[in-house]
């Protein structure tokens, strides 16, 4: 699971560089999310622009990552590709997360809210 984090101000952008968040990578995804976000206290934006496919295990892993962050830190999602968006829409998870078109929109959203 190729993931990297970049923290600027109170926003941590976690970029997923792998094409799939699926049953084969769900556990690794959760571990990496924990490693990359622990210690911080601001918003976390998950950049999924490179993710072409997600299954229900991957979806569950993202929900799990949101719970790990706790109620004080928000997990927002950016750059959902069409197939990924479809899974969020079908499961109605699109109503649970704040979704942004891309990372820039996510940053701007934070700036306007601040």
């Amino acid at each position: 699971m190729d993931m990297a984090a970049d923290t600027q101000g109170d926003v941590t952008i976690v970029t997923v560089r792998s094409e799939r968040i699926d049953a084969a990578s769900a556990i690794r995804f959760k571990d990496r999310m924990r490693e990359l976000t622990e210690g911080g206290d601001g918003r976390v934006v998950l950049d999924m622009a490179a993710v072409d496919f997600i299954d229900s295990s991957g979806l569950g892993a993202i929900v799990s990552a949101m719970k790990v962050l706790g109620p004080e830190r928000k997990l927002e999602l950016a750059g959902l590709t069409p197939k990924v968006m479809k899974v969020f829409r079908l499961t109605r998870m699109d109503g649970v997360f704040t979704l942004h078109a891309d990372v820039e929109a996510a940053r701007a959203h934070g700036a306007s809210a601040a």
Partner: protein, 223 residues
């Protein structure tokens, strides 16, 4: 654990395909290859299918014929058939999905249908790995895929544990109007399959699970 093989399938037909790893099925996905003639135990002894009689049993004939029967249409004409054999591991599932979708697209399946197929098939296969084989990678899975005009008809075989109550679960999507820490992290699989696929059927045939379904691009559905 039950370790039977698909009907008429030699046990060691393709040991290489059962290797767990990065390219478990690429070699066993053969565009244009006819599906093996697994007429199924229920139909064993009958004449080999020739695509002329739409079979009534999920385990016999081609997936395309099953769909034609469900749609009350004449038997489907010769259609490209893809077959994949894989081990029961999530890594092998990933490889099979990629290989099948690549081949299906090359054979002309549109992007939308292909996306729906990949999603539905992923959930079906993950269920096999997790529930039928309880994550034991020594199990086998065989996928047959018939490509038709606007449709993809699919059949999945495995030799793992039967489906609970020997029927397809009809669990709806989990309720999301709950506190954050109670949000579900699973339980979406079958609901996703039901929302993406049609004409689902399941049979337990001589120690094998046989699941069939069809997928098409829904009008107005942006993948």
């Amino acid at each position: 654990m039950v370790r039977s093989t698909p009907p008429d399938e030699p046990r060691d037909a393709d040991p290489a395909a059962l290797d767990e790893g990065a390219r478990p099925v690429a070699a066993s996905v053969a565009p244009g290859q006819r599906a093996p003639r697994w007429t199924g135990p229920a139909a064993s002894g009958s004449a080999p299918h020739a695509g002329r009689i739409a079979p009534a049993r999920p385990g016999s004939g081609r997936p395309a014929d099953l769909l034609a029967a469900a749609l009350d249409e004449p038997p489907a004409p010769e259609a490209p058939t893809l077959v994949a054999r894989l081990a029961s591991s999530s890594l092998a599932v990933r490889g099979a999905l990629s290989a099948l979708c690549r081949s299906a697209r090359r054979l002309g399946l549109d992007d939308e249908t292909c996306a729906a197929l990949e999603m539905a098939l992923a959930e079906a296969l993950n269920n096999v790995v997790e529930h039928a084989y309880l994550e034991d990678p020594a199990g086998w899975i065989v996928i047959e895929l018939d490509l038709m005009d606007g449709w993809a008809a699919c059949r999945v075989w495995d030799g793992g544990r039967p489906m609970p109550r020997k029927s397809i679960p009809t669990t709806p999507f989990p309720d999301l109007s709950v506190p954050l820490d109670a949000l579900p992290e699973g339980g979406f699989g079958w609901a996703l399959i039901h929302s993406l696929a049609e004409h689902l059927s399941y049979e337990r045939l001589e120690g094998c699970n046989c699941l069939t379904f069809a997928v098409r691009a829904a009008p107005g559905d942006v993948a």
